[in-house]
């Protein structure tokens, strides 16, 4: 069953076309990888799905409903979670507060927070606390819960970001370079975490630059170049695809190596 279908998606900024006539689908429960050289439009694609940009043309359908034109928080509410390329966590809040915020979201009425905390309020509060604890365990950061998010390592921050996106209970999780800036030797934990998340039922879309990581994790891969799809298939097909090799390494290399 498809959880996400993108049809003829196009995005132009003035004279520059970042994404052109892109169409693909993501199966529920898959880990779907998106790769491509720098500037090929991967993050722009995420921005479009997540609602930060409006498409110039084309449609995006999530769980059978179109999400084009909806506001970011509406899209997040409907089940799409996301992390960003530059590690975004709230630096001045503790790890615990970061995840709690994502978990609690808007469940609490402003005025009742200040004045009268009803039983329902307290129950919801306890639920959020439990949820936060659960996620901290999942991302294996329970020991760092009271550290300021700005003070922990890059790798831990990335896990916090993933935890936050998870806390919103998404059906689809968009991960933008979850191992960005982390040396390949230290990526094992994040890779395991991503698998764990998928095994718990969340579909994952993954932008990655590290070939080893994406070939390892993804069941299906989409390759972009200059905003267009140049290939789509399972890792084995992509590895041997001429166009992909040309895009990454250049035409000369492809010819020289006999592809």
């Amino acid at each position: 069953m498809e959880i996400l279908r993108v049809t003829e998606l196009t995005k132009s900024f003035g004279g520059l076309t970042a994404i052109e006539k892109l169409s693909f689908g993501v199966e529920k429960g898959n880990i779907f990888g998106i790769i491509g050289p720098n500037g090929s439009g991967k993050t722009t694609l995420f921005n479009l799905i997540h609602g930060f940009y409006r498409p110039t043309r084309g449609t995006i359908v999530f769980q059978g409903k179109t999400i084009v034109g909806k506001k970011i928080h509406e899209i997040a509410d409907s089940g799409i979670g996301r992390t960003f390329q530059t590690t975004t966590v709230f630096q001045e809040r503790t790890v615990y507060e970061n995840v709690f915020l994502a978990s609690a979201g808007e469940s609490f009425h402003f005025l009742s927070s200040i004045f009268w905390r009803s039983n329902k309020y307290q129950q919801t509060f306890l639920n959020s606390l439990e949820n936060t604890d659960r996620i901290l365990k999942l991302i294996e950061l329970a020991s760092l819960r009271d550290e300021l998010a700005g003070n922990i390592s890059q790798e831990a921050q990335k896990r916090v970001a993933i935890g936050m996106a998870l806390a919103t209970e998404p059906e689809l999780l968009l991960l933008d370079e979850p191992t960005g800036g982390i040396p390949i030797e230290e990526t094992e934990e994040i890779v395991n975490l991503i698998r764990k998340i998928r095994n718990l039922g969340t579909t994952i879309c993954l932008i990655e630059h590290k070939m080893k990581v994406v070939m390892n994790l993804a069941e299906r891969i989409l390759v972009l170049n200059y905003g267009r799809k140049i290939a789509e298939g399972d890792p084995k097909e992509i590895r041997n695809n001429q166009e992909v090799i040309k895009a990454y390494l250049g035409e000369d290399y492809a010819i020289a190596e006999g592809y």
């Binding site: 997540h50 930060f52 506001k71 970011i72 928080h73 997040a76 509410d77 979670g81 996301r82 960003f84 975004t88 966590v89 709230f90 630096q91 001045e92 809040r93 615990y96 507060e97 709690f100 915020l101 994502a102 609690a104 979201g105 808007e106 469940s107 609490f108 402003f110 005025l111 927070s113 200040i114 004045f115 509060f125 959020s128 606390l129 936050m164 996106a165 806390a167 919103t168």
Partner: protein, 321 residues
């Protein structure tokens, strides 16, 4: 936990102030004005310190709250039991009407947008003479209507001591509101909107709605402070809603520590009480104040609370015991 005893001590001290001050009108005035400035600073701290919105219109809301109650009482003979809630409602309505469009703006544009609205409010108060008596203002505003208590009888607010107690109660209430907010999930939401708006939004939080509610609540608080001020001091002029009055409140917050729990209180107390000990002429005092401000933000960018070691300052959010 030793803090609990400190609070009790402070509270008892505050209760006894009228006895310490006796009949000295001047001292009473300083203390009461300090309390009113604390209320103003707390309101500004909520909207600017916690939510990160530098709204220069809030001085105008102070004026709207003050004028509404004053007009209802002096021109229509209404009791303060009615004029206060009506004043809150009108201030809230105005801030909704202003807040909704102006919150579409971001950053500097937002600040200047609120500046324009603040100026417009002052201008309206100045020009709508049939309602507000123009630049000369309203005089002869009576103190609040008396409050019947069982056994003790009616408490009237003609005496300075009773005015003091009334305003003290409200100040404590304001502090509680700010404290509850900071320690709640909604406070956390506002702090994260202040730090990183897009990230907050991507977590499914409607930032526009949260900003608007915070804007309105803090405006109504300004309005209440305004009404209390009007009935204490007895006269009002459009100057009381000016943007420069608002700037003062921002200064108190920043000096104390913007966004902190005690910052607005410390800033207001220091900047209201200390000048009283400097017996220079007014102009020299202001030059000194200017120099002080510049030196302060240069050397202590996070205000006085920035100097307090973390272990001593109150825990902000979600402290699970």
């Amino acid at each position: 936990m030793r803090y609990k005893y400190l609070w009790v001590l402070i509270f008892i001290f505050l209760l006894f102030i009228p006895f310490l001050v006796g009949n000295n009108k001047y001292y009473f005035h300083i203390i009461i004005m300090t309390l009113i400035w604390i209320m103003i600073a707390i309101s500004i701290n909520i909207v600017t310190g916690i939510a990160g919105l530098l709204s220069i219109a809030h001085g105008g809301f102070f004026g709207i709250g003050a004028y509404t109650s004053a007009i209802l009482v002096t021109q229509h003979g209404v009791s303060t039991y009615i004029s206060f809630p009506v004043s809150m409602f009108i201030t809230g309505a105005c801030s909704l009407v202003i807040g909704y469009p102006v919150l579409k703006l971001k950053g500097h544009y937002f600040a200047i947008g609120t500046l324009i609205y603040g100026i417009i409010i002052t201008l309206i108060l100045e020009k709508w003479e049939s309602l507000t008596k123009g630049p000369y203002g309203i005089i002869g505003i009576p103190p609040e209507d008396s409050f019947p208590l069982p056994f003790i009888g009616k408490i009237n607010f003609d005496s300075l001591a009773n005015q003091y107690y009334l305003i003290l109660i409200f100040t404590i209430a304001f502090y509680s509101i700010m404290s509850r907010l900071l320690k709640s999930p909604n406070g956390l939401i506002l702090l994260s909107i202040r730090e990183r708006e897009e990230l907050t939004e991507s977590l499914g939080i409607d930032i526009r709605k949260n900003k608007l509610i915070c804007f309105i609540v803090s405006s109504v608080m300004m309005g209440i402070a305004g009404a209390l001020y009007a009935h204490y001091i007895g006269y009002l002029s459009p100057e009381d809603s000016s943007i420069f009055m608002q700037f003062q409140g921002v200064i108190f917050c920043v000096i104390g520590g913007l966004g902190t729990l005690w910052g607005p209180i410390i800033g207001s107390v220091i900047l209201n009480i200390i000048p009283e000990f400097l017996h220079f002429f007014k102009e020299y005092r202001l030059v000194f104040l200017g120099v002080l401000l510049i030196s302060f933000v240069t050397f202590f960018p996070h205000g006085i609370m920035g100097l307090v070691p973390k272990s001593l300052s109150p825990k902000d959010i979600l402290r699970r015991e």
